[in-house]
Amino acid sequence: MLRFLVHRIFGLLVTMFFVSIMVFIIMELPPGDYADRYAFRKFSGTGVNVTQGDIDNIRHGFGLDRPAHIRYAQWMTGILTRFDFGESFAYETSVNHVIGQRLWMTLAILYTTLILTYVLSIPIAIYAAVNRHSSVDYSLTVVSYLGLALPNFLLALVMLYVSVTVFDTSVGGLFSPEYEKAPWSLVKLGDMLQHLIIPAVVLAWSATALQLQTVRATMLDELNKLSVTAARARGIPEWKVLMKYPARLAVNPVVSTIGFDVNRIFSELPIVALVLGLPELGELLIQSYLDLDMYVAGAILMMLTFFIVIMNFVSDVALAALDPRIKLSGV
């Protein structure tokens, strides 16, 4: 197990190294840079004639005139040694400061969504598989097809409407106005969770629908295995047979796709966040790209990829813990 862990951690580091290079290349890809954008913003309409020399000066001021590999090395050194993601040009402050709260927001939504997805899908799917052709089983099929078919933003709008008209709660944003500036307390945490629940439900909806089908199908497969019959033949109580043998294996496909789920949540989050007015990373990513605020964009890309890679790592390790056959072939 230790060898396996070391091996996987090494793999994770190598992946992150290549990710950082790719992120930096992506940061370099858009035509122009923030110096052009800055000059345009500052002087357009003022009648001042901007020369190439002026722009070069601005570029030098931002440090953008140095060669790409030097800037990459400086950027990475800052991240690795001081956890400093550089300067945001547009906000004229550090990237860490710009991203800060949005990062926590994004992570809060991510983990709430994941937990909600698994807490709902795994037990319901197992129940449906055990009670095949029951009413729960059939309604599950209907609900999960709905989940796969409904677009997220539409669901977000509907939930927004329902929660405002029926429950009279403030949605949108992370906190109710009265807690926005308040210091952290249990009440504020509760308020935050209340605001998290709608984006989490919207994002968990399709993931749950998919996982329901996966777990149910695997569970049905596993239920027919001879090892389950053999366990019953040993006189083990039925619920114990179900939990110990098929259910444990039915969770495997869920565990192995945690990384995919994270990935999908990150891709769907910006649109949902836009509809619900949540300050999260995806929205900032798009904005910073439009502004050519490259260090912010790069930092966000790094963060999101980092969490996908981390969750893939978690999923690998969890799977190896769940299934002893994996350790042999996994290294």
Partner: protein, 366 residues
């Protein structure tokens, strides 16, 4: 091997008495009846061999004996499965026990253990061999019991639930598991107990499966084609092992196979099944040396014999029909070389009793 003369069984001698067992399945294509009125007895310490092709209902009959059938199975409520497990002449009708009730679970695994055709698939791949033996031991055996204690001491009152007694400690159960693995001939059992099924060879897995089954000291072992997936040499070792343990534990065995040659070596009594019916039943010697039913003869002609190498093997012609297209009359008549028109295809032959507690279902002897 010289089996004892097969006396008419008496209750004190009987372990299980299955009367008119009928099992049907509700399927999408309709109702099928893979077991249609099967009657047999197993005596204490003896081996009943059930022979038949795939689909003859061998496995379904034995699974019905421990209520291990899928949910869509319907066992005729008039069928009786009398189990004389408590040693005082009284019996339990297993067919009247509720599925998954504590009583049936106590019999299943505790009194009647099973081993299956595929030793790899019989073990869950994600738990160690030891884990699965310990599970069985702790389910059925109270603390303070030796691995192969005599029948009388191992909780013989069927109705008394093991849960009421104190469960064996995990460490004791583990020690017992190691002893069992040693007993079934697995070398280095202390290491093997912590290994996963995929780390064992096929023969070793079947030995381990026997260790799981016998760790609870059952009165009966149902061996459902236990050697079909194994090499011939390993097969011989496993058969030998089952016979040794059977003698040692004074255990009854139901041995299911499609291999007539194998049955001759293991069984005291043989029942030949075809499409859910026992077509012939008798002492192994009688049945092998003088087969009466055309199907039994067909099966015997299909096995190679060292003393008759010049002879070509003759398979039983045709295939076993689908259970949805059960032939009327005698189920074997479409494949029977000696069928009689207007008789075999119309009526089901009754049982013709013969000497040595033998019977055959065929109009040739009616």
């Amino acid at each position: 091997m010289k089996p004892m003369p097969d006396k008419v069984p008496t209750p004190s001698d009987l372990l299980i008495d299955v009367q008119d067992l009928k099992v049907s399945f509700q399927t999408d294509e309709g109702l099928i009846t893979p077991v249609d009125g099967v009657t047999f007895q197993v005596r204490k310490g003896k081996t009943l061999g059930i022979v038949g092709e795939s689909g003859s209902g061998k496995s379904v009959s034995t699974r019905a004996m421990v209520k291990l059938l899928p949910k869509n199975a319907i066992v005729n409520p008039d069928s009786k499965i009398l189990f004389y497990g408590n040693g005082n002449g009284t019996c339990v009708d297993i067919n009247r026990l509720k599925a998954n009730s504590p009583e049936i679970r106590r019999i299943r695994g505790g009194e009647i253990a099973m081993i299956f055709q595929e030793p790899m698939a019989s073990f869950s791949p994600v738990y160690t061999i030891g884990n699965q033996i310990v599970e069985a031991i702790r389910q059925h055996r109270a603390s303070g019991m030796s691995p192969l204690a005599s029948t009388a001491t191992v909780g013989s009152q069927i109705m008394e639930s093991v849960q009421a007694q104190k469960k064996m400690k995990r460490n004791d159960a583990r020690d017992l598991a190691v002893e069992m693995l040693d007993r079934v001939g697995i070398a280095n059992p202390g290491m093997r107990v912590d290994q996963y099924p995929h780390e064992l060879s096929g023969g070793m897995r079947q030995r381990a499966m026997i260790a799981v089954a016998l760790s609870t000291h059952p009165k009966m072992l149902i061996a459902d084609e236990p050697t079909t997936a194994l090499d011939v040499t390993i097969q011989a070792q496993i058969i030998e092992l089952i016979r040794d343990l059977q003698k040692e534990l004074n255990m009854s065995v139901i041995f299911i196979t499609h291999d007539m040659g194998l049955i001759a070596r293991v069984a005291d009594v043989v029942a030949v099944m075809y499409l859910g019916v026992i077509v012939e039943r008798g002492r192994t010697d009688d049945l092998i040396n003088d087969p009466k039913h055309p199907y039994t003869r067909g099966l015997l002609d299909a096995i190679p014999r060292l003393d008759r190498l010049d002879r070509r093997l003759t398979p039983v012609a045709g295939d076993i029909p689908s259970p949805l297209e059960r032939p009327p009359g005698c189920p074997f008549h479409p494949r029977c070389p000696e069928r009689r028109a207007n008789l075999c295809d119309r009526e089901m032959p009754g049982r013709t009793q013969m000497e040595n507690n033998r019977f055959v279902r065929c109009f040739l002897y009616a």
